[in-house]
Amino acid sequence: MLIVSLWHHMGRKALFFFREIGNLSILFFKVFQSTPYLLRHRHLLMDQMMIIGVQSLPLITVVSVFTGAVSSWQASYQFKMITSFSTVDFLGAGVSAAILIELAPVLGGIIIAGRSGASIAAELGTMKVTEQIDALETLSIDPVKYLAGPRFTAGWIMLPVLVVYSDLISHLGAYAVAYLLLGISTSKFFGSVQTHFLIYNVASGIIKAVIFGGGTALIGCSIGFRTEGGAEGVGFATIRAFVYSSAFILIMDYVLASILF
């Protein structure tokens, strides 16, 4: 009996998962079709680029400085644990690769998932439960074109920009710790970064950011459009958007890492 019940539960969850994937795929297709509309209504895109990109800069700055700083400190500690050689020549290179490949895109993605993905779901969810989405429909305005298109496009354009910015700021954070606390000179630190620098690492971070940014915005829109149940429903939608986006980022990070490296 327990096994039957377990199978039943798993079956329902599997159906739910595939339905969500289906909803996202349909929305992606519709958003893609709405590109010509977006080209005619560039102000909608600009507004979202401001919200998702420019307004995220302060948070990205703080997180990036400390991500770089802690990476430098932890790398130094771990190098000391595993080798008796001097870490001076490798610290910059090691920290830089970690920032470019993993830390900046993944942490940037999680920040956008928390700040923008959840906010998109809450905003569109509120519009849904207060009939504002229906009002758009009655005014002959397609909500997918008007609301989802600009958010999705701003997501995949702005996260890579934020990631490149985060790459720079994180390097400065790492350098500050290396120079002030670990006694590594500027030339040693950046010399190490430069010697082992690969443009491919930067490109892979940008590719990840495009997928994380677009995916996060799309998940927020999809959940927002299907919100039901008043204020409580909006609360659940916000949580779901963050949880799904975070899971998407971490899973896709692994998938992309196995493809790109």
């Binding site: 519009m127 207060t130 009939e131 229906d134 009655t138 002959s140």
Partner: protein
């Protein structure tokens, strides 16, 4: 003309509309009344294609909107205006942006011409000097009027009103009712209004249809409705739970 033919709709296997058929001739205002949850709003939203019935036909100027492609449906909707129960104004926009949105989207008017049209529509509903206000700064009655101005922006042929006076005080309700009558006559619109406010029904309705358990229980002129001696109609009209002995 709007023709509703044998429309059925279920939610979670619970029938909400059962074989509903109604005709709304051009230039008339049909008031749809009935208890809460009897399917009035579902019917109204079906007329504009926000809800897709399971079966039946909804003909607008002879075209069945249920089987229309989305692009054609959006074209038909340009002939409709809808006033929502809670006005459904866009929170992030000012009054001017709310009323001007359909004009910005569907016309080639320049910003000055749009502003002029917005002012005209707001004046029509008795509002001035509110262009820069956000919906959160407006009273319930003002929101309804702005919602009405927005619905009128494209000068629609058909107008749908969802509980136009719900949540308003009697004086504001009366103002909204008179405004609706004035608009419908002035612009010669065909209208469907969903309400359970009898005062509203008596002021704005040319015809009244009563929904009961998902079906059309009564369909006649407003005069016939208010004189009807059918027990269910009388009880609803007088707001009584059971027929009292006389």
């Amino acid at each position: 003309m709007i023709e509703i033919r044998n429309v059925q709709k279920e939610f979670n296997k619970k029938p909400v509309l059962r074989q509903v058929s109604l005709d709304i001739p051009d230039g008339e205002t049909m008031v749809v009344i009935g208890k809460s949850g009897c399917g009035k709003t579902v019917l109204l939203k079906s007329i504009i294609g926000l809800i897709k019935p399971d079966s039946g036909k909804i003909l607008v100027d002879g075209k069945d909107i249920i089987r229309m492609k989305p692009r054609d449906l959006y074209a038909v909707r340009k002939h409709f205006g809808m006033l929502f129960q809670g006005a459904a104004l866009f929170d992030s926009m000012t009054v001017e942006e709310n009323v001007g949105l359909p004009l910005r989207e569907h016309t080639l008017l320049d910003p000055a011409a749009i502003r002029k049209k917005v002012e005209e529509k707001l004046e029509l509903v008795g509002l001035t000097n509110l262009l820069g206000k956000k919906p959160s700064e407006l009273s319930g009655g003002m929101k309804k009027r702005v919602g009405l101005a927005r619905a009128l922006a494209m000068e629609p042929k058909y107008m749908l009103y969802d509980e136009p006076t719900t949540g308003l005080d009697p004086i504001t309700s009366d103002t909204i009712n008179r405004l609706i009558v004035q608009m419908n006559r002035k612009l010669n619109m065909t209208a469907v209004a969903v309400t359970h406010d009898m005062d509203s029904a008596s002021v704005i309705g040319d015809r009244v249809a009563m929904l009961h358990e998902g079906s059309v229980f009564f369909n006649g002129t407003a005069d016939e409705f208010f004189k009807s001696k059918i027990p269910i109609v009388r009880r609803f009209r007088e707001g009584r739970l059971e027929e009292e002995e006389e």
